[in-house]
């Protein structure tokens, strides 16, 4: 028996999610203490760009104390704000995870475990004894018993019994799920609650390394490691920072020379015979180094993980999320991912001399007691196509239902009408044909070809036959059962193709059936009659060609393939082996989510790239603000570069610094939400992002700095 939990959205889960991307100003306020704590250089050294800003801020603070002026204090304050805003971005991103971690911690209460000593499979109750220990004292391999109402003390596999378990603490899903020994639904998670029955669980976790512990660590980002692309980007940003540091530091001797030569130029507070003032140099440096992306980089990474968590997917590492964006090949299981879980009645093919309605009626009658999804789909199809009202079992007192058995390979109904019995049978073609012949009938000539045709298309033919009193049995026709491809799948796969991702359908079906469904769903390729070994070999082959592969799986035999795949998404309903092997766990156990995961991975990378481009493009406008402000006093001709016509040199420099700080705050929501991503080709994506973030990055600061300058120039007592 397999029971699948039916995923129904419930209010509780919705409540658990943290706001879907829009930044709540309250959150900024709440994160302020964290942001202040992060000013500690020991914390900030992980972010070299912001560390330089902080060092600059300390330097200007000293200068402002020794030579106070409104300008030096204004710059100093805004430099500190720049660092603070960067910390705030990170703190807000982390804050969302913390809320989730708090919920999880509640599930991790100290429970007592009932450990069984001497238990072995099939052992009688007298052969082992029970003792009570703290859950935290459980070791790997210990066996515990859990009964209704008790909390499972640790991660493990059910080795005896079956129970319904409330896993809402982890999945946010309140509908209970069934966990049983053996098979693919044996894994239980510590902190979840047994609602009925009794199970014996063998603990598989090491103490302190439970699934919930890992989840808490992941959502809090406590042991967040930089991902490969993040490291590479950091190197590029560091190189740019060094270049700008050099450009600014080496400027001083050049400026002193210029000043000495233009002896007639008036001395100002920012540019005297000793060169440019420290305040101005630090301002120039902070404006040039890529502070925008430097400030938001870690927030982008945390938010990317968080977006997955909000979709109930746990990535075991940021590396996996990034790999998801790079995936070239998606392996998708047919059942449940591409098609609905079960085959469904598609059409009625009546035999000669039988009307479709007659066949539908007979098929419906034969299927009333059939509670399988296939059986129900026949009832529904008959109702939809021929308006045959579903008749309740109880309303047909004269009917005797014949259940399906593996021996007869058919099911049906015996109807007692007016003292005569009419038998209707429905089932596998060969079995029903035999039944017809055994009861003196001859299958009509068109049934055989219809059966073959359906098989050829990859469908399943069910033959319907009847035996009325005094007549030979006759075949009424064939029901065409087929896999129904989920709606919208073809469009999704077309999208994937535009993104350059190849989709491969994995199925246990024969190649003929597989091909029919693959064609219908629009996947690029399929692997038929797939064994776990085939799957693993396919992944290896794809990787050999330099491709990255993503797949989902739940069974223990999926574990090697999950481990081999670059992105292996294990279903939460799956075995602990599968969950251990994959690098992501989908708490909703929805295989279709793989596609969303890929999109989230891409969005994460795009957000980084777009903000890097924006950050660098910003520098152009800042130069046009700062260079004339610095040098026009010595070389008046350089005022030509002041194309924004900023009101005064001080105001120009301050405006650039203020813009530089404010843009961080302005972009926090974007970095948390990620830039808009619509699946399309690389060229289209690049064109779009280049226009928005490249051109936008050039233009925005011209406008922003000008506006800030206009505001500053209105403040009385300034310039």
């Amino acid at each position: 028996m397999t029971v699948t939990s039916v995923a129904t959205p419930n209010p509780r889960r919705e409540a658990r999610k943290v706001g879907g991307g829009l930044l709540d100003p309250k959150q900024l306020w709440k994160s302020l203490p964290d942001a202040l704590r992060k000013l500690n250089p020991a914390t900030l050294w992980r972010n070299p760009v912001m560390l330089i800003v902080e060092v600059g801020a300390v330097f200007t603070t000293l200068l402002a104390i020794t030579q106070p002026s409104w300008f030096s204090w204004a710059i100093t304050v805004w430099l500190w704000l720049t660092v603070l805003f960067a910390n705030l971005a990170e703190a807000v991103a982390e804050g969302r995870g913390k809320a989730q971690a708090a919920t999880l911690r509640n599930a991790k209460k100290d429970t007592m475990a009932r450990r069984l000593i001497g238990w072995s499979e099939g052992a009688a109750a007298t052969q082992y004894r029970e003792e009570s220990v703290a859950a935290s004292a459980l070791a790997q391999g210990d066996v515990v018993v859990v009964e209704a109402g008790q909390v499972i003390p640790g991660d493990g596999d059910v080795v005896e019994g079956i129970a319904s378990v409330d896993e809402s603490a982890i999945t946010g899903e309140s509908a209970p799920v069934i966990r049983e020994s053996g098979g693919d639904r044996s894994a239980v998670t510590g902190g979840t609650k047994v609602l009925s029955d009794r199970i014996v669980v063998r603990i598989t976790q090491k103490p302190g390394e439970s699934f919930i512990d890992r989840m808490i660590g992941l959502v809090e980002g406590a042991n967040r490691q930089k991902t490969p692309n993040e490291i590479a980007l950091n190197i590029l940003l560091a190189a740019l920072t060094i270049i700008f540091l050099l450009a600014v530091v080496t400027l001083q001797p050049m400026a002193i020379y210029a000043k000495a030569w233009q002896g007639a130029a008036p001395d100002t507070a920012s540019f005297g015979p000793a060169g440019i003032s420290g305040i101005v140099l630090v301002s120039l440096l902070v404006c040039l180094i890529p502070t925008t992306i430097g400030a938001l980089l870690s927030a982008i990474g945390i938010a990317g993980m968080d977006r997955l968590v909000q979709r109930n997917v746990l990535a075991m590492s940021g590396r996996a999320v990034e790999a998801a964006g790079d995936v070239n090949t998606l392996l998708l299981d047919k059942t449940g991912t591409i098609t609905l879980g079960n085959r469904q009645a598609w059409e009625f093919l009546p035999a000669a001399g039988v009307t479709p309605a007659q066949l539908a009626d007979a098929a419906q009658l034969a299927s009333f007691a059939d509670e399988t999804p296939e059986g129900r789909s026949i009832v529904v199809l008959a109702k939809e196509q021929y308006g045959l009202r579903a008749r309740e079992e109880g309303l047909m007192p004269h009917a005797t239902f014949i259940p399906f058995t593996a021996q007869t390979r058919m099911s049906g109904v015996d109807l007692a009408e007016n003292g005569e019995v009419r038998q209707i049978r429905k089932g596998a073609a060969s079995a029903v044909m035999k039944w017809v012949r055994d009861n003196g009938g001859h299958p009509s000539d068109d049934v055989g070809p219809a059966v073959d045709a359906i098989s050829g298309q990859g469908g399943t033919p069910l033959v319907v036959a009847e035996l009325a009193a005094g007549q030979p049995a006759r075949a009424l026709g064939v029901i065409h059962l087929k896999d129904v491809v989920k709606s919208g799948m073809r469009e999704r796969f077309d999208e994937m193709r535009r993104m350059g991702i190849r989709t491969i359908m994995i199925t246990g079906d024969n190649p003929l059936t597989a091909k029919a469904i693959a064609d219908e769903a629009g996947v690029d390729d399929f692997l038929a009659e797939a064994t776990p070994e085939d799957k693993l070999a396919l992944i290896r082959k794809e990787q050999e060609g330099g491709r990255l592969v993503a797949m989902t799986g739940d069974g223990t035999n999926d574990a090697p393939a999950l481990a081999q795949a670059d992105v292996g998404v294990a279903m939460n309903t799956g075995t602990s082996a599968a969950k251990e092997a994959g690098n992501m766990v989908d708490l909703d156990s929805d295989p279709t989510k793989l596609i969303e995961i890929v999109e989230i991975g891409k969005q994460l990378l795009i957000t980084r790239g777009a903000l890097t481009t924006f950050s660098i493009a910003n520098d152009i406008a800042k130069y046009f603000a700062i260079i004339p402000a610095m040098f026009a006093v010595v070389y008046p001709s350089l005022d030509t570069l002041n194309i924004m016509r900023l009101s005064s040199p001080e105001s120009a420099i301050l405006s650039a610094v203020v813009f530089n700080a404010l843009i961080i705050i302005a972009l926090i929501p974007l970095s948390l939400r990620g830039v808009r991503y619509t699946p399309s080709s690389a060229s289209k994506l690049l064109t779009r992002n280049l226009w928005i973030y490249g051109l936008g990055g050039i233009v925005a600061p011209f406008i922003g700095i000008k506006i800030i300058d206009m505001v500053i120039s209105l403040i009385p007592g300034i310039s």
Binding site: A232, I235, T250, P253, E322, G601, I606, G609, S683
Partner: protein, 556 residues
């Protein structure tokens, strides 16, 4: 025909000739570097060197070979120069103290020629004997060019190979490039130059009576042979002090055309080799397009600024002819100036120091671009590919994938090498200029203010980028300048070269990712535009403050 029309025809015919050369010379270069068989002479050389020509090298070994060869070259040339000064010096030859080859000048010159810079802190015709010119400097003109091409080819192999540790054999590349590419073309070019009127003899010179009746010593020498490789190998070290402005080096407009053609032909043809080796000619065209766009813009802007002849004196005179030879006129001089600084040649047919402020800024900017359009022989291609890698990195993130160029992933290791490459030159220029300003090593009394500052910026930009042309005006044959510029040339050549080979090594190791619709196409106009943008923006951001205090302060 107005000077502008003549200038336009000059440029267009050059472009046409270069376009033809891209295809045919490019294919020939590809065949040379990809060849399997060794010539008889080559085998002899390998035996003499003790090299197994079929054993390929890892990037580390390749880099060590390049460095070892260059070190030996520097030491050899240094010894040769000092030997000339101490032993072979003809008594009347070194009459003036300025014409001695002191250790600091010998160091500077040795480094200068081995690094393909050919910065000359001396006057060729008076300081160097014919023997040194032919056996010392000319040899380095060949092999330093070959080293550049070899390293570029090694980088391209990094892109082309899959899961390999090997980048080729430096000694084989060096030998083949010298014997099969540089020597034959230089020989033909030398003959053409002789036909055009360039001198080629071994005389000490002739005495001539000038129009005013004064006596003048006209130095002769093996000029044409030197001139050909000087341009072809983007070396730029003139036989004469005034370089290609000297009528014996560059007698008329068509030799001028030929010289510009020679100094740009290999750099422009190398992208073809790239396209052929990675088995996708479109990639070669894309790199060529980036080079061509920047080059045409550089040439056009230099022409525009010079033809506008801003400034008090040029406006009064009606043309910016100071420092230019009427043989060439304003436009052809400007084109030569742009071409020589867009490549790493540094030969000059006019005096950049005398250009208008903004016209004179253009050669500086051209060099600051990293000499990638088309750049020096080899160094232009590898410089441009580094920029392309950085562009791919940022652009690749924007399409939502780990960036990849030709299927090779640009990860932390690759971006580290690329970043260090583009850090080096700006660092050398900025630190050098700042050091000169801080230590008071600037111009003479005549050249002060923004223009004097520009001269210093020019000197370090030229040295660090291995260009070799100068704004003059500064007395650079002093221990401070010889040492500082020598260091700038040395580090500006070999550090980037190590990083290029390191990048090549880590690229070669990768198995390429097959291209798909999700891959950033690197042959489309969008990408070409982005690379151009990255070149310009990175340079503008790095050097704008320095430029503001120099040419911009003077010219705006």
């Amino acid at each position: 025909m107005s000077t502008t029309t003549a200038g336009v025809i000059f440029i267009l015919s050059l472009l046409a000739a270069l376009a033809v050369a891209y295809r045919y010379l490019g294919d020939y270069l590809f065949r040379v570097v990809a060849a399997e068989r060794h010539g008889r002479v080559e085998r002899g050389i390998y035996r003499a060197l003790g090299v197994d020509p079929d054993a390929e090298q890892s990037w580390g070994v390749y880099a060590r070979s390049v460095l070892a060869f260059s070190l030996v070259s520097i030491l050899g040339l240094y010894a040769f120069l000092r030997l000339q000064d101490l032993v072979f010096r003809v008594p009347d030859f070194a009459a003036s103290i300025d014409e001695r080859v002191f250790p600091h000048l010998a160091w500077n010159t040795a480094v200068s020629f081995v690094t393909n810079t050919n910065w000359q802190a001396y006057s060729g015709e008076s300081t160097m004997t014919h023997l040194v010119q032919m056996a010392g400097l000319a040899v380095q003109n060949f092999v330093s060019a070959a080293v550049g091409i070899a390293v570029a080819v090694a980088l391209v192999r990094g892109f082309a190979r899959r899961k390999s540790e090997r980048l080729g054999n430096f000694w084989v590349d060096l030998t083949r490039i010298t014997l099969r590419i540089l020597l034959p073309i230089a020989a033909v070019a030398a003959v053409l130059l002789i036909v055009g009127g360039v001198v080629q003899n071994l005389t000490d010179g002739t005495a001539a009576t000038t129009l005013t009746g004064a006596q003048q010593h006209l130095t002769g020498g093996p000029v044409a042979s030197q001139e050909a490789i000087k341009e072809l190998g983007t070396n730029g070290g003139g036989f004469y002090n005034v370089n290609s402005a000297h009528p014996f080096e560059n007698p008329n407009a068509w030799t001028d055309w030929l010289e510009i053609f020679l100094l740009t032909v290999i750099p422009f043809a190398l992208p073809r080799v790239f396209g052929r080796m990675v088995k996708d000619n479109r990639q070669g065209y894309a790199i060529l397009a980036v080079m061509a766009i920047i080059a045409v813009a550089g040439v056009a802007l230099t022409n525009v600024f010079e033809l506008q002849h801003a400034g008090t004196v040029p406006q009064a005179v009606g043309a910016a002819l100071e420092g230019k030879d009427v043989r060439f006129g304003v436009s052809n001089s400007a084109t030569f100036a742009a071409a020589t600084t867009l490549t790493s040649t540094g030969a000059v047919n006019s005096f950049h120091d005398s250009y208008t402020a903004l016209g004179g800024m253009m050669p500086i900017v051209n060099m600051m671009l990293g000499e990638v359009a088309p750049g020096g022989v080899g160094s232009g291609l590898y410089g441009m590919l580094i920029i392309a890698v950085i562009t791919v990195f940022v652009a690749g993130l924007m399409v939502g994938r780990t960036p990849e160029y030709l299927g090779k992933k640009i990860g932390a290791r690759e971006i580290k090498f690329a970043s260090m490459y583009f850090l080096i030159t700006p660092a050398l220029v900025l630190i050098g200029v700042a050091a000169a300003m801080a230590t008071g090593n600037w111009s003479t009394q005549l050249n002060v203010g923004p223009h004097g500052f520009s001269e210093v910026v020019y000197a370090f930009t030229s040295a660090a980028n291995n260009n070799g042309s100068a704004f003059a005006g500064i007395t650079v044959n002093t221990p401070w300048w010889d040492t500082a510029l020598g260091l700038a040339m040395l580090l500006g050549r070999f550090l980037p070269l190590i990083f290029v080979l390191g990048l090549a090594g880590s690229l070669a190791r990768q198995a390429p990712v097959p291209a798909s619709a999700g891959t950033l196409p690197t042959h489309k106009p969008l990408f070409i535009g982005m690379v151009v943008g990255v070149v310009v923006i990175l340079v503008a951001l790095t050097f704008l403050p320095a430029l503001a205090l120099g040419p911009l302060a003077e010219g705006l």
